[in-house]
Symmetry: C2
Subunit: 225 residues, 2 copies
DNA sequence: CGCTTAATGCAACAGGGATCGCGTTAATAT
DNA sequence: ATATTAACGCGATCCCTGTTGCATTAAGCG
């Protein structure tokens, strides 16, 4: 699953280089914002030779996968005692990381690589996360709560967060709450979803919210008639 | 909005070349399946020189945008008399085009271009479609039906279709019906969503359905523990 | 400490994407 | 029909991504 298979000599120098490269990646993603990240840039900024990076990680997606799994996604899944609580903190966390340059970059890199020429890039941490999420659901079910299927959770809460974050901008915690609320309503079947936070028409929505989705990031004016 | 600005000499030869290139793109997308599309390939397959293609369209995303807007998205929005009917046929159509190589390719190309270096690729036809969708909703509301907000429709029905289609496989008409049904349930507030079609756990879901989402396209075996 | 060899540095090179200058063709206007 | 010039074809060329062979460094091990 990891980009660096069990190394035979992971000690001092290799570890140092690994750290240098990782840090360079994070630096670049932080400074350059959303610009493209090339291996040449990483090589120069870290002082590690290109060839080394190509040999160890192969490609930018592979390197990003390593960075993400080894540094960013180490926080354990929430366990607040209620499914709603778990989902809300988890969704907020996902939204935050997907909205950041690192997360957005990673998702786009891995997903774009996914359908490309044969070499089906492993979905890496996505599978791990899936298992952890399932454990979270299982806990809730064991407590006696009504729980959604995984695909429901994925479609109703996670996919919108991913989509917003990748294409437009990070979604705020208020909206993640709305998504979680929607999921729970669906599972429990209560009264219809309130429409307070929603623009009435597409035009309003598009113009007011900046961008295609009503999120709150500035995005050079693009009105329509 | 269009990739080719109002040409000063759009007649005979230019039009012929434009058609040749468009047809080559469609041919390649049909035959090569999901493989990468390069301008070199298009040039060879169409008999038009690379330099010409670069000059007129600039890049693959630009060319795809032109192809899509001028050839593929000309079918009018459905008007069946009920919101559910409209949504179901529309969703099925979207799923089909997004699942096809052309649609998938286009979406992924725009995705790549969207947040990349400055040149904010226009979302092109997406805005047009948004307005048409809104008109569909307006018609339904005028008939007295309870209608969702645009963002709800977008998040609950369209985004999942896009996401599935772009990164995994096309969703079948059965699942699009599920999505539409979900939306209408949310707006009208009825009993909880049935869970028949959903795998029980993430592992089941992942292994059985092939790929991360339970869709029905073969995808080289990738089991997990 | 000394030996083995994994891992890195270095430079040269292949390959492809994209651009440019210039000659040629043909669309448009008169 | 003729002139004008937009648009195309062609080849050379640049630049960037990624690879490879070989020398050098240092990690792991006795």
């Amino acid at each position: 699953m990891n980009a660096t298979p069990p190394a035979k000599r992971p000690g001092g120098r290799s570890a140092r280089i690994r750290d240098d490269v990782h840090e360079a990646v994070l630096d670049l993603l932080h400074s350059d914002g959303w610009g493209e990240i090339t291996i040449a840039m990483i090589a120069e900024h870290s002082g590690v030779h290109q060839a080394t990076i190509y040999r160890r990680w192969g490609s930018v997606p592979g390197l990003l996968d390593d960075v993400v799994t080894s540094r960013l996604l180490t926080t354990p899944m929430p366990d607040t005692g209620t499914l709603r609580g778990d989902l809300e903190t988890f969704a907020a966390r996902v939204a935050e990381s997907v909205g950041s340059p690192v997360g957005s970059m990673y998702l786009r890199a891995t997903l774009l690589a996914s359908k490309n020429a044969g070499e089906a890039h492993e979905y890496g941490f996505l599978v791990d996360r899936g298992l952890e999420i399932q454990a979270m659901l299982d806990r809730a079910e064991k407590r006696g709560e009504r729980v959604p299927r995984f695909l429901q959770l994925f479609e109703i809460v996670l996919i919108p967060i991913y989509f917003h974050g990748m294409f437009f901008a990070a979604v705020g915690p208020d909206h993640t709450k709305t998504l979680v609320d929607r999921l729970i309503r669906i599972v429990e079947g209560v009264e219809p979803e309130p429409m307070d936070g929603y623009s009435r028409t597409f035009a309003e929505h598009f113009n007011a919210g900046n961008g295609y989705l009503g999120s709150d990031k500035d995005q050079s004016s693009r009105k329509m008639s």
